[in-house]
Symmetry: C2
Subunit: 452 residues, 2 copies
């Protein structure tokens, strides 16, 4: 069954490319609400065309989810998470080819969203088409959840997942994207960090004052600085918020082994960032452990008073900071938010307003889940190399809704991009070879995972 499907894919490479070009030519910019709903309709139609039942599910306050399912009466169900929205294409003058032109040059397809994440949507649909056209069915039950707000932080997506728990039951989730590194190896991960992004607002007088008044009027910039200073120990880079580390799980021996096999490229990274060393002079496995297994407390933005050229003798009326905490299992974003609030109050800064701007929990799947050997073995077969395997990534995303809230093993790293694909950047593109390999990989995953 798998050979026939692979053959079909081989024979229909041209058509599969055209199907992808059709989708990437349609803008779907969530940040600008441009073409998003039209794209949801297109994706629904493409699903139906390959034999997947599709619904457009409205999400309160947000863009709809395209939900698809194909029950083939198998014992296992595989769920694909994707998103049909894309980043804004700006700055337009840095593109060599039109961002919604879908042009092919030197064996690569250029378009905003082709790597992140429309190439993967179409690759997954084409893998299904290959089975349906050659065997009339698929080797594993299939579900699709394709959201429309990933590029603006999946702000409403949790409502969909929370409301649709029953419909989303599956044995594994394949996450949205993946890319091959400089040596052609796909990078597989099993989770990511969470995030708790807050803003602190400290206010003083009702107007900026001549700075001579600072002798007798409280300066909100000083209050904010002192409040921030209570939150972090620079010597150890530890967050001083009470209970911050309570729920932090250390890496297991197996996870440490994984990280040791794939260390940070220290020399290259330092050179690229113009730095002499990493934080706390970390190196080797300690560096990897800090990157992937320690939560952070990061000032992302800070502003108050006069920030122009030269001098202005002003005492600011307000001061602000944006802070993100990257969280690790088993921390949760709302718990950390409460802890930060308590910390500020305890240190005498209850007057400082604290806003929760965005939050996602961390999550990581078990390395023993049945999908794990399937992904790795099919990656070896498809790419002819040993995949890079990391227990988790240092970034964040809505993955926790699946691996933590629904408790489904969720794997990231299956996709059609490569290390130069430029997601979020001008000239985003994928190599046609990677697109077709990506389809092959999904065909093999479906076949292998369906064998149980």
């Amino acid at each position: 069954m798998v050979e026939k499907a692979l053959n079909y894919a081989k024979q229909h490479e041209e058509q599969f490319l055209e199907d992808l070009r059709y989708l990437v030519r349609q803008p779907s910019i969530a940040a600008q609400d441009k073409g998003v709903k039209e794209t949801a309709e297109m994706v629904k139609k493409m699903m139906e065309d390959v034999g997947v039942q599709a619904d457009i599910v409205p999400v309160e306050g947000g863009q709809p989810v395209v939900y698809g399912h194909l029950d083939a009466g198998r014992s296992r169900t595989l769920l694909f998470y994707d998103h049909y929205d894309v980043q804004p294409p700006e700055p337009l003058d840095e593109w060599s080819h039109p961002p919604f032109g879908g042009e092919v040059h030197d064996g690569s397809l250029y378009a905003r969203g082709v790597s992140d994440n429309k190439g993967n949507i179409v690759a997954r649909l084409k893998a299904i088409e290959a089975f349906i056209k050659t065997a009339g069915t698929v080797p594993v039950n299939i579900k699709f959840v394709i959201e429309g707000e990933e590029e603006i932080g999946s702000v409403n997506f949790h409502k969909f997942v929370e409301a649709e728990r029953a419909r989303l039951a599956s044995d594994a989730v394949i996450w949205e994207s993946g890319s091959r590194d400089v040596s052609g190896r796909p990078t597989i991960t099993f989770g990511n960090k969470g995030i708790c992004y807050i803003q602190l607002d400290c206010r003083g007088a009702n107007q900026d004052l001549h700075s001579s008044r600072a002798a007798i009027v409280e300066n909100p910039a000083w209050r904010l600085v002192q409040a921030l200073a209570t939150m972090k120990d620079l010597e150890t880079d530890r967050c001083l918020v009470g209970g911050f580390y309570d729920d932090v799980l250390p890496p297991t021996a197996r996870e440490i082994e994984m990280m040791e096999k794939n260390p940070v490229d220290e020399k290259e990274t330092l050179a690229q960032l113009g730095l002499r060393g990493f934080l706390l002079e970390l190196t080797g496995i300690e560096l990897s452990k800090k990157l992937l297994y320690q939560p952070t407390c990061t000032i992302c933005g800070l502003w108050s008073g006069y920030t122009g050229q030269g001098t202005k003798t002003v005492m600011p009326k307000e001061a602000h900071a944006k802070i993100d905490h990257r969280l690790v299992p088993n921390q949760t974003a709302l718990d950390i938010f409460e802890k930060v609030k308590r910390h500020l109050a305890k240190h005498g800064f209850a007057d400082i307003q604290i806003q929760l701007l965005s939050h996602e929990d961390p999550g990581q799947s078990s390395l023993d889940a049945p999908i794990v050997p399937v992904i790795l073995e099919t990656a070896r077969t498809t790419y002819g190399v040993e995949p890079v395997v990391n227990p988790r990534s240092a970034g964040s995303g809505p993955m926790y809704l699946f691996n933590r809230l629904l408790g489904i093993a969720t794997i990231s790293g299956v996709g059609v991009g490569y290390y130069k694909s430029g997601a979020h950047a001008p000239d985003e593109h994928i190599r046609l070879e990677d697109y077709h390999k990506g389809i092959e990989h999904v065909i093999r995953i479906m076949a292998e995972f369906g064998k149980a």
Copy 2:
């Protein structure tokens, strides 16, 4: 002699007004280098017209000083410090009358710079004219120093004073301006604070990074916050820079008495600023002492990373702060600058760059100087009220070049403005009555001071 001069002034009120309108119609915006040199020439000519010898003295890198002198063979010399430059008139649409129109409405003359400080230049020249025209001489030797960069921080003016020490020798300096309060009382002061305005620049990686990297790369925003936190104790509002208070002189019993007579209007000030209380819950004489006799350490500006709407998960490549220290006798700005540098190095922040953006020393004249009773007595006679007397103001300026560097008693508060004159603001104006009273006051000061 004084009566004839006063009579002359009375009879020439209309002409004196026209002479002022002539000067205020000429823009002289130092910040925009607009009309400044032309105005210096006009002021020189106006001096010569009343019988004062005048020179335009170039200042390296800056606008020229108009220096004037009239040696009448008296034992005492009075020096007037003024400036012929003005603030920019913007925002233009907030003016009811053209800022360089010199229009009279409801007994007031409207023009940018009419209160700060051209009205005083002309009032002082007209007082001299009144003596010359009626007695052929003046009762006291006169010097004028009229600079062209006061509104941009007198950045080069110190070069002139340092180079011209000998020519500037005098028995007293009358500072540029003064204004009457809501009850018609002029406010006399004998000094002001200094300023040491610095900028701290802290740098990290050579680019803003995805904030997930904050786990392993040093964040310059945190370093700056922690460096700032070492500089100030919030509980006491004390600056923690080593040696910061070494040269601070406490107020004398007489100065305390002066402040007690003229307390801060606490209720009014708090209401105006929308505050519940002053810093450290200060009140009464302690509030005045803090305002006038304690130096400050003020964050005027703070910026790093993302400061827009919503979230951006970025780790900044740099962080900056602007800080001003308002200084009191006998601190000096350059000494404080060195102390801040040492403080940062001592606390492990030697990598943070520190720039000195502007500096002026504090200075205060002796309350026993012979000019003091002259000013107060003539103010009583002229205005028919008891003047408000404060030992010093909380602001800064180049006054230290006279009262500290040259050691000449320097008095501020003789002038033609009133509490609503709006220096630096749209609709700057003076009341014609105050203009003519100001001329009277100067006539009386010259006569009284010349009696010795």
